[in-house]
Symmetry: C2
Subunit: 253 residues, 2 copies
């Protein structure tokens, strides 16, 4: 029997915390996992500091069915993800000889030296299973319930595609959206009643800015759950509440 599966996401990198670079991975991970019936329940963003990575990883891996990390598996001194994950699991960060050989051959073909600094890309925590893709000579890997992926979005996506088919399948998550020209304050009372009458679904209410890319309407309601009948009922009642108040509303995803 299917159950609800949970995931934690750990985004690693100073650049995400300083605002230099905006994360482009979380939403893609969340949407991809949800198609597998796995929900992201928590995300942490930590700097390139080993103890911070260790603490966050240990908190997440004990709480959720799966953990996905991005970033810090490149060749430079600030790429400390593998050292940190090894520390979190109390194992050594060891050379993966076949990965080493593949990277070396790749660099040889480009007449680039495989320096000791770059060789760190061929290390992974003892016991890790490599996740190889055609997109990158540096693999991601799995250790227990933790999946370690690149931070560069195009590489991360290919790694995630390779990973996702190996994951257990959770209860299918369904969602419906309603866009409405109502302010949240005006509909809040009706929404609370509908919420209390539909315990198996979550109803989110998201006010939109005037220049929103997501909707021309003032609010998007998102109804989510695993029971299609209950979702349908909640949506119909939200539509009816909007219509009763004279507010334009439409179901669209």
């Amino acid at each position: 029997m299917e159950k609800t599966l949970s995931a934690g996401v750990l985004l690693i990198g100073d650049e995400l915390l300083s605002g230099s670079i905006k994360d482009q991975n979380l939403a893609h991970i969340a949407v991809t996992l949800e198609q597998r019936g796995i929900r992201v329940r928590e995300t942490r963003i930590v700097p390139d500091i080993e103890q911070e990575i260790v603490d966050a990883l240990n908190a997440l891996r004990s709480r959720y069915d799966y953990v996905f990390t991005t970033g810090g598996i490149g060749p430079t001194h600030d790429d400390i993800t593998s050292d940190s994950i090894a520390a979190a699991f109390s194992v050594d960060n060891v050379i993966q000889q076949d990965v080493f050989d593949i990277i070396q051959a790749h660099l040889n073909s480009k007449n680039v030296a495989f320096t000791p600094a770059a060789q760190r890309m061929a290390y992974a925590p003892e016991g890790a299973e490599m996740i190889r893709t055609e997109r990158s000579v540096v693999p991601g890997y799995r250790i227990e319930n933790v999946f370690v992926m690149a931070g560069v979005p195009s590489i991360m996506r290919v790694m995630l595609d390779a990973i996702v088919e190996t994951l257990d399948i959770g209860h299918t998550i369904l969602s419906q959206k309603i866009h409405a020209n109502v302010s949240e304050g005006e509909i809040a009372q009706a929404l609370e009643t509908i919420h209390l009458a539909h315990h198996g679904v979550e109803i989110g209410s998201y006010p939109q800015e005037r220049e929103s890319e997501l909707s021309d309407y003032r609010v998007i309601f998102v109804v989510r759950g695993t029971d299609q009948v209950e979702i349908e009922s909640a949506c119909e009642q939200i539509m009816a509440a909007c219509e009763a108040g004279g507010y334009a509303a439409t179901r669209q995803n």
Copy 2:
């Protein structure tokens, strides 16, 4: 004497974890705080579940000089930030009569009923100081070292502007960027040497996708710290390392 000040950020909302909506607040918060000499050291994204918010807030507020939250202060049933923050501080979530009166007058002028559901917007944890702006009749607030802000980006920004002038000023953080047409693997060894010779600065190395909005070059190096002389020295050595390898490089921000 100025010191380095730290901040944690807590982004609250199911929609951020499901990928329905991408966060647009963290980078702005980070950049704004950094101009004040305050660095964001950790970010957590949690769902609209009270215990999750309580646990994350308590972890962050004990570790960092300041904590900034976004989201969950609207009128609907999923807006549980104030209840949760009150629980985290073990105080009651109490009505703010002046806020209540202002919202009521505002809604009266629009002929909209101020329902019990919507009245939750006028509650805040006991002891909170309101942060009023002209952008919204619903204020943000401060309680001890925690600042509670709206999730809607245009409102959050106005609230943050009102907050930032009240914060202590940390050691000025300086940063320089170098864009270079080099792969990380080729420069990693030189970068490690430069890193080891400049303990007071952080050197980040960020490979760019072909279609990157940030740079036409293959890598961006970011050198950050509080000592201009040391930053300048590190930048010069990175430029020299690129030039020695025949890689095009340019300093630009």
